[in-house]
């Protein structure tokens, strides 16, 4: 029982009529590219033209697939160990943490990656770049974050590749990433870039993110400390998913004394 003279916000803590209490996720539109980014030609016939309608966060949105260990094989995190021989290229370690925007680790969540080989060629029938395929490299990997949100891949540094978006267009070297987080709201598909790439300035996909600070969050950091001497260089890349709005209960806890 609560003392009846306490200044107590009944509306904030009385269970909702259905008894159901759900978290809500912070909106982060300002981090992301606009769908209709003119300079990227493939948007022209594909980017929706009507305004998006805001979707409240109900049960389907605050839940999401919690995909387990049965999706991850023993060599799935090591893209250099999936064939009889080792792939050509510069061996690298890519590691970091998956966090939410409040800095909370996202544990046990699936991270999927795919990339071109060291010559800038994907093992994909649609890739016409006249660069060699590598029989020892498929370019796909997956892992689960650990209980503190850490993940780690071993791979080779992907090459830059040409595409036909504009005259003499080249994609900066990148690794594609797919993340699920813990809720439908947190789903993220992104690309990780490498520091100091001279191709950034002419790439409409990288520059579709208009905020320079947000663009920097797609660039990994070279990290000498986690290189393995005489074996592999290392890049660190933290991925930040949407965090939760504070709940009325959390606000109340601060008032408890």
């Amino acid at each position: 029982m609560y003392p009846k003279d306490t200044a107590y916000d009944v509306a904030a803590t009385t269970p909702a009529p259905s008894g159901l209490v759900l978290p809500s996720y912070k909106r982060d539109e300002s981090s992301h590219p606009a769908l209709d980014t003119e300079e990227y030609n493939s948007t022209h016939l594909r980017a929706p033209q009507q305004p998006l309608q805001v979707l409240p966060h109900y049960l389907t949105e605050v839940t999401g697939p919690l995909l387990g260990h049965d999706r991850v094989g023993e060599t799935d995190h090591d893209l250099t160990a999936q064939h009889a021989g080792e792939p050509l290229g510069e061996r690298i370690i890519v590691s970091g943490r998956v966090l939410d925007s409040d800095g909370k680790p996202v544990p046990n969540t699936l991270v999927e990656i795919w990339q071109a080989n060291s010559a800038g060629r994907y093992e994909h029938s649609g890739d016409r770049h006249p660069a060699p395929l590598d029989p020892n490299f498929s370019g796909t990997g997956r892992c689960l974050t650990d209980s503190d949100g850490f993940y780690k891949f071993i791979t080779i540094k992907p090459g830059a590749y040409p595409w036909r978006n504009h005259d003499n267009a080249w994609r900066p070297a990148h690794i594609h990433l797919s993340l699920f987080g813990q809720a439908f709201t947190q789903r993220l598909i992104t690309q990780m870039y490498f520091p100091g790439d001279p191709l950034f300035y002419q790439d409409p996909i990288f520059n579709s993110v208009r905020d320079p600070k947000a663009r920097e969050r797609m660039i990994s950091r070279f990290d000498l400390d986690t290189t393995v001497p005489e074996w592999a260089l290392s890049y660190k890349f933290d991925i930040v998913l949407r965090g939760r709005e504070a709940t009325p209960f959390e606000d109340d806890e601060e008032d408890d004394d």
């Binding site: 909702a16 259905s18 159901l20 209490v21 759900l22 912070k26 909106r27 992301h32 590219p33 606009a34 769908l35 980014t37 990227y40 493939s42 948007t43 022209h44 016939l45 594909r46 980017a47 929706p48 033209q49 009507q50 309608q53 805001v54 979707l55 409240p56 109900y58 049960l59 389907t60 839940t63 999401g64 697939p65 919690l66 999936q82 939410d100 925007s101 409040d102 800095g103 999927e112 795919w114 093992e123 994909h124 649609g126 890739d127 498929s138 796909t140 594609h176 813990q182 439908f184 709201t185 789903r187 598909i189 992104t190 996909i205 579709s208 600070k213 947000a214 969050r217 797609m218 930040v240």
Partner: protein, 189 residues
């Protein structure tokens, strides 16, 4: 108090070359349930661009409750459990077609006492989409529940139909039109 809020990592396109062996298109991706599951339905359709042409390099992902309206998730505070996978994923074929085998989801309560009609949340990824686009599939035979649905009922009446699948033999057809006069309604989630 929590520390400074970290900026979120920006979205980028899935690109044209995601369909790699061992990649994101799992062999069992479209099979949310097995073919022998009682009540199994197939939801299928096409992804079309602004010219009405098929989008042959899209990924359609689905997320939904089970037939009783339950989720296998810690934030479903109702305390019921299910082993239902709930998640489907299918790449489109050269004609822009996708399919998902699943069950029709149950209705869901909302915190403010409303009831959501059976629905499936959908993410579409493709070359040319710098962020995922999100829509919902509703069911044509649920006229009463659809009319009371707190999301569908706020959608402009002229566009509501773009969120309602068409029944056909063995399931439902749901086309996704990224652009054009009958552009599918997409949500900011």
């Amino acid at each position: 108090m929590a520390g400074d809020t970290l900026g979120t990592t920006p979205s980028q396109t899935v690109g044209p070359f995601f369909a790699l062996s061992g990649g994101i298109l799992w062999e069992d991706g479209p099979e949310v349930v097995g073919a022998d599951e009682p009540g199994a339905i197939v939801v299928h359709g096409r992804v079309l661009d602004g010219n009405g042409d098929p989008v042959p390099d899209a990924v359609v992902e689905t997320w939904q409750a089970d037939s009783q309206g339950r989720f296998d998730h810690f934030d479903d505070s109702r305390g019921e459990s299910t082993s239902f996978r709930g998640f489907g994923r299918c790449g489109t074929d050269p004609e822009g077609r996708y399919w998902i085998r699943t069950v029709k989801p149950g209705t869901l309560p909302t915190p403010d006492g409303a009831t959501e009609a059976p629905h499936i949340d959908v993410t579409v990824l493709a070359r040319g989409l710098l962020n995922r686009v999100v829509t919902r599939i509703y069911f044509p035979e649920e006229q009463e529940a659809n009319a009371a649905d707190p999301v569908l009922s706020t959608v402009d009446a002229g566009r509501r139909g773009t969120l309602i699948a068409a029944a056909d033999s063995g399931g439902y057809q749901f086309d996704i039109r990224l652009q054009g006069d009958d552009e599918t309604l997409f949500f900011a989630v």
